[in-house]
């Protein structure tokens, strides 16, 4: 049951994931995946609850969370912008795209805008080299052969969507 106060986090999904996984060998990473998917981030408090539930030391949970790039301890923005910096994209100017996104959003790679709308990340090769340079948003919207000039438009599009 979720608390009504508005400050508490509803742990029921986490507890169910942990319950289903308890006692299974090498289950930690899968649990972290599922929990992050649901809650958006693996906050210290969430890591503690996983540690208690799976009977794995918190140091080990934290060690695993900080080892894998995929896991995050701060919630990501609603739109996760990933700029491919694989070889083909890099050669075709991905670093210029990174500079521009950093400039326009006012955040560094790995950070999230204050309004919680955008997170900025770089990835190594999304496997679409013929479309280089590639930008993906939430792994769903794919922008091909992106030029720095298009960036304002891309960002504005999502802001517009939110405003509606």
């Amino acid at each position: 049951m979720a608390c009504e106060c508005g400050n508490c986090i509803d742990y029921s999904v986490l507890d169910r994931i942990v319950e289903e996984s308890r006692g299974k060998e090498g289950i930690l990473i899968n649990v972290l995946h599922s929990v992050q998917e649901h809650y958006g981030a693996l906050t210290p408090d969430i890591q503690k609850r996983i540690s208690d539930g799976l009977n794995i030391p918190l140091s080990q949970v934290y060690g695993t969370v900080t080892f894998y790039h995929f896991f995050t301890m701060v919630p990501k923005g609603k739109y996760v912008i990933k700029i491919c910096t694989g070889t083909a994209c890099y050669v075709r100017g991905a670093n210029k795209l990174v500079e521009n996104f950093v400039d326009k959003l006012g955040i560094e790679v790995g950070q999230t805008t204050n309004d919680g709308l955008f997170s900025l990340e770089t990835v190594r090769c999304v496997g679409a080299c013929s479309l280089a340079p590639v930008v993906t948003i939430n792994d769903v919207d794919i922008y091909k052969r992106v030029s720095p000039k298009e960036i304002d438009g891309i960002i504005a599009g999502y802001r517009q969507k939110e405003a509606e």
């Binding site: 986090i9 906050t43 210290p44 408090d45 890591q47 503690k48 540690s51 030391p57 918190l58 140091s59 080990q60 949970v61 934290y62 060690g63 900080t66 080892f67």
Partner: protein
């Protein structure tokens, strides 16, 4: 058996052995940093690389199992150059201010650099920015010196199953640390110090209290009263070049006197006192249906462990304070009264094999009227350092004894220093009290010895109020073994009456505050020293200690009586960690 050839010599080794073990067998000393014999084989540091015929790449000898007919070379030019290169890479991210390092002249990395002939550190680039922890009573952490050998991590997780520290982050940012880089004191760390004992460099070390001790000695308004724990007398000699297990009891007292301590005592006396209290507590529990199994409470790392991980078993824990605290309590009450000293002026100091004792001394419940039983606890290593600072020629000191009136001790008190010793000492007293007559045999060998994996069990037959009873006991050392035993107790699969637990493998002789190195072999030699010492003692049962008898007669009254309870017993509370983390 497998036949292999190392450096031209034929060696027969058992199947499953590693090349390193085979090489050690014929007296070769292959360098290692991340290796802990029998405990950690991860091949991470690459110092032990060797050349195997037919293999194009050098292999880590600590992880490579021997294959029949293998031809190995451990000291070719390629091997030596590569090892040196690897060491230079490690040194590229390690401070070179050796002169001011805690481990100067006693550092494994420094020794290897000398042995392998590193004359300059050729690679200098960015240095990692790992954390520091000066905030924890039991130890001190300086991440800049860490070489990432993971020996501490393995001791904490595999051997002790505490899990306070673990590898975190990746690449250049990798470090072994507590969750969210909290100070150790805010983690589940028990303060056992096995990480410190196994650190090859100065990344983990004592949180030293030496200066406070000197200040107390030099302060004319203070009265310094010192005690030394049982196991220290068989380990301290190692700091001055003696063989592990050498007994230096007399020299310790002589050194203390020359250093300027006002009153010098032996914790062995308080160990006898512990046996009186714990023995009678045990008899009471057995006779009156108290909570069983009763579990010993002398080891503060263990007390922290049970308070954190098995709070439901706290009623099983003996309410007796540890010998350190009992000694401190007697110093500030009985001794102070007898000598007409103001307890507030007394600085009670202890020399302990233990880092966790520093935490125990600071527990708020361990004292009365605004003063603590023990004010400063220092480790064997710190005490050795103080002796060196005092310009004392330790090895040529005469043998001296402790002071009166609480200076007499027994073999029973001495064996507290080894795993099984508290149990044996308790049996020596409890069975005689139960049966009401002298029992000739004092050697309960079933509970002795170094058991690294699992626990020791013994059954002793006796009679309680005319009824025959088999007293079942178990002894575990190392917190991983303790955990297994406690899980059995929780599951109702253990019908023991009495359990002894020591936090460190082998008991206090392997304590986190003992001289470095402390290996399995060294632990065994120290245990031999303990039992040799016991055998040579004129009195070997705690209740026969005349100073103990006088103490009860003049001051305490009955064992477990009102006064004894007030001064010598304590209580426990569940420890909770990682509360109120960021949401």
């Amino acid at each position: 058996m497998l036949n292999i050839n190392i450096n031209g010599m034929d060696v027969k080794v058992e199947k499953g052995s590693t090349i390193l073990e085979a090489a050690n067998k014929i007296g070769l000393k292959i360098p290692t940093l991340c290796h802990i014999p029998e405990i950690q084989k991860i091949g991470a540091c690459r110092m032990c690389l060797v050349d195997i015929e037919g293999n194009p790449k050098l292999q880590a000898s600590c992880t490579t199992p021997v294959v029949d007919g293998m031809i190995v070379k451990t000291n070719t030019k390629k091997v030596r150059d590569t090892r040196k290169f690897v060491l230079e890479l490690i040194l590229s991210d390690h401070p070179t201010a050796c002169l001011t390092c805690e481990r100067n002249t006693r550092c494994e990395l420094q020794t290897l650099a000398a042995e392998l002939g590193v004359d300059i550190v050729p690679f200098r680039g960015a240095t990692s920015s790992r954390g520091k922890d000066n905030d924890t009573l039991q130890l001190n952490y300086d991440g800049s010196k860490c070489i990432y050998c993971k020996r501490c991590e393995t001791m904490c997780n595999e051997v002790q199953t505490v899990g306070a520290i673990f590898s975190q982050k990746r690449g250049f940012d990798s470090e072994v640390g507590t969750p969210f880089n909290l100070p150790f004191k805010d983690s589940v760390c028990t303060g056992c110090g096995q990480c410190v004992l196994n650190c090859p460099v100065g990344a983990l070390k004592d949180n030293e209290n030496i200066d406070e001790v000197w200040d107390a000695i030099y302060n004319p308004d203070k009265i310094t009263v010192i005690q030394v724990a049982p196991s220290v007398r068989v380990t301290l000699g190692e700091e001055f070049g003696l063989k592990p297990g050498s007994i230096v009891t007399g020299k310790i007292f002589a050194a203390m006197r020359r250093m300027g301590f006002d009153h010098i005592f032996d914790t062995d006396f308080a160990a006898d006192l512990t046996i009186m209290e714990e023995g009678y507590e045990f008899i009471n529990r057995v006779k009156n249906g108290g909570t069983l199994p009763m579990i010993t409470s002398c080891s503060p790392g263990w007390v922290n462990f049970i308070e954190t991980f098995f709070p439901d078993l706290l009623p099983n824990l003996s309410t007796c304070k540890s010998p350190q605290q009992m000694q401190g309590a007697m110093v500030k009450t009985y001794f102070a009264e007898k000598m007409k000293l103001d307890p507030k002026k007394i600085v009670s100091i202890s020399v302990m094999p233990c880092t966790a004792k520093k935490g125990e001394a600071k527990r708020p419940e361990m004292g009365r009227d605004g003063y603590s039983d023990v004010d400063i606890a220092i480790t064997t290593r710190e005490f050795a350092k103080m002796i060196r600072q005092s310009e004392i020629d330790f090895l040529n000191l005469p043998d001296e004894g402790p002071d009166d009136p609480i200076g007499i001790s027994t073999g029973a008190g001495l064996i507290f220093g080894a795993s099984g010793g508290v149990m044996e000492a308790a049996l020596r007293t409890a069975l005689e009290v139960i049966e009401g007559h002298e029992i000739k045999n004092v050697d309960y060998v079933g509970v002795r010895g170094l058991k690294l994996d699992g626990f020791k069990e013994a059954t002793v037959s006796t009679q309680i109020d005319g009824n025959p009873v088999d007293v079942k006991v178990a002894v575990a050392s190392g917190l991983g073994n303790a955990r297994k035993l406690m899980e059995k107790v929780q599951a109702g699969e253990a019908d023991y009456h009495f359990i002894e637990i020591m936090a460190c493998p082998g008991g206090c002789i392997g304590g986190g505050g003992q001289p470095i190195p402390t290996t399995t072999e060294i632990r065994k030699q120290r245990i031999e020293g303990i039992y040799k010492g016991d055998k040579d003692m004129p009195i070997r049962k705690s209740h026969e200690n005349p100073a103990i008898q006088v103490l009860y007669k003049e001051f305490l009254g009955e064992p477990n009586g009102h006064k004894a309870h007030e001064l010598l017993h304590t209580h426990y509370t569940q420890q909770k960690y990682y509360e109120n983390l960021k949401k």
